[in-house]
């Protein structure tokens, strides 16, 4: 069932705001990791605190989030993550 297929991606960042090394941070400078879950219906991303020495992502330390629904927003221009905060995001969407 295509609905069951999932693709995971990730991207590192050195800080919450864009800076000179945001595109290609060295390992030691990575402070945030963006983890994405994609399905046929949506892309859900959380940008979480990351410890480059322990290689540990802290999913309790969420810096930002993105949620786009493919059908209504195929180009991913309308982030509805914040609209869904406050607990009513389906539990199945959280990593």
């Amino acid at each position: 069932n295509p609905r069951e297929s999932i693709a995971y991606s990730q991207y590192p960042r050195p800080a919450d705001a864009p800076q000179w090394n945001s595109d290609k941070p060295s390992l030691k400078d990575i402070k945030v990791m963006g983890y994405s879950i994609r399905t046929i219906d949506y892309r859900y991303t959380v940008w979480v605190g990351f410890n480059p020495h322990e290689f540990l992502a802290n999913f309790s330390d969420v810096h930002a989030g993105e949620l786009y629904f493919v059908h209504s927003d195929p180009l991913q221009d309308h982030n509805v993550y914040n609209d869904t905060q406050g607990g009513d995001l389906p539990h199945s969407l959280t990593p």
Binding site: K24, M33, E66
Partner: protein
């Protein structure tokens, strides 16, 4: 039954801007022709949208959190674990494995050796003209030579009178000729450099994309709700002389719209140039009577933003940077073997306006991942599919974190595929 050969074509920074992915603007007849003989995955995604981490991930079959390569500065065998690679696995199964062009990312992440000797039976080939890629070989409006982002060239005038991907195609064909008489099966990986920046391509390809036909991205503004951490400030293209001259503000620009259209024009022209290289390679494979015994896999390491969300380059989690072309031609399975005298991969000139619209091949819409390349190629070649990795798997040399895609090669209309099912 003789083992099937494998030709793995990896294209640097190629997003699915191709005719076979529905892009009506792009002239990519040779890749479209390959797609019409293949199983094409409509929704394939890279695990990280930047060269070395993506390549090490799919060539080892492990996710970046296992290779622990998020930048360019470590070699997984030293830094994370002694993980086997796809070519290494084929080599250990009796294949002659060869690398042409950019397969592993050069430098530390592949031990300054393209992971030789583990992965390759012979020293990897790198085109000599690659050394000029980022030098001042682009003729500017002032008639001087610059190191520009936009770099349509007269090939006769550039150093060595050739370009890296042309040399790679020649070398790959030379290796195919050598392997034709070999008793061993081969695994040949060909890594093309374009459309990676700089957009340095034979200038005649610009004619395929008159500037008046080039639109902006459908959503060229930075979205209001985009968290700043998610935005990629495209610092690499800003280093190029022609972009520097625009005096753009950091981090959001924007780039003047006429220059945005020129970037898009040159990316598309680079794609059509790349298509001719793939066309020559596949035509030679058939001329050497190897097309009936060779699996062809075609993909890229990640996509590229062409102005969407006010972004350029890769370096993000957006679909435009993570989604990649992925297709597999399997002789006699994704397409019937050709009748005597028929051809599967005749070269098609993208300048021929009459090149017929290509019949689409088989397609799969399920979301799949590049990390599935390892188990899928192993399975298609009839090798044992490596076991799934335990978590964690740093101590495990051979395993895979991606699903095998073999289930997608079972086509309703052909009972012989049940064999694959078995």
């Amino acid at each position: 039954q003789d083992a099937l050969n494998v030709l793995l074509i990896i294209v640097d920074d190629l997003r699915p801007s191709l005719g076979c992915y529905g892009d009506k603007l792009i002239r990519s007849p040779n890749i479209d022709q390959l797609a019409s003989r293949s199983l094409l995955f409509q929704n394939a995604f890279a695990q990280q949208a930047v060269c070395a981490p993506s390549r090490v991930s799919f060539l080892t079959g492990r996710r970046p959190d296992t290779t622990r390569l998020y930048d360019f500065n470590s070699y997984w065998r030293v830094h994370a674990g002694n993980f086997s690679t796809i070519p290494q696995y084929f080599k250990e199964n009796g294949y002659v494995t060869m690398s042409v062009g950019k397969v592993f990312h050069p430098g530390i992440s592949s031990n300054h050796s393209d992971d030789s000797p583990y992965s390759w039976s012979v020293p990897p080939y790198h085109p000599s003209s690659e050394q000029y890629e980022n030098t001042k070989t682009c003729k500017g409006p002032d008639g001087e030579l610059h190191a520009n982002l936009l770099c349509p060239v007269d090939v006769a005038e550039v150093p060595e009178g050739t370009l890296p991907d042309k040399q790679s195609t020649e070398e790959a064909i030379r290796l195919l000729e050598k392997m034709k008489s070999s008793a061993s099966p081969f695994f040949l990986a060909v890594g093309y450099h374009k459309p990676h920046i700089p957009f340095r391509y034979p200038k005649e390809f610009q004619k395929l994309y008159p500037l008046e036909n080039i639109t902006l991205a459908p959503d060229p503004q930075v979205p209001a709700g985009l968290p700043p951490v998610a935005y990629n400030p495209w610092m690499d293209i800003r280093q190029r002389e022609d972009v520097q001259a625009l005096n753009l503000s950091v981090p959001y620009g924007p780039i003047p719209v006429d220059f945005q259209r020129k970037i898009r024009q040159s990316y598309f022209a680079s794609v059509s140039y790349l298509d001719t290289q793939v066309g020559q390679l596949l035509s030679a494979l058939e001329t050497l009577q190897l097309a009936n015994s060779t699996i062809v896999a075609f993909t890229s390491d990640h996509g590229w933003a062409l102005g969407e969300h006010g972004e350029w380059a890769k370096y993000s989690n957006f679909d435009v940077t993570t989604r990649v072309p992925l297709m597999f031609y399997v002789p006699g399975r994704t397409a019937p073997l050709p009748e005597a005298g028929d051809k599967l991969f005749p070269y098609i000139n993208p300048f021929d306006s009459v090149s017929a619209l290509m019949e689409p091949g088989r397609e799969a819409v399920d979301l799949v991942e590049l990390v599935s390349l390892f188990p899928t190629l192993a399975g298609l070649a009839g090798l044992h599919v490596p076991p799934r990795c335990p978590i964690p798997s740093f101590h495990v040399q051979l395993c895979r974190e991606g699903q095998s895609l073999l289930k997608h090669f079972r086509f309703q209309d052909s009972e012989e595929d049940l064999a694959l099912h078995g």
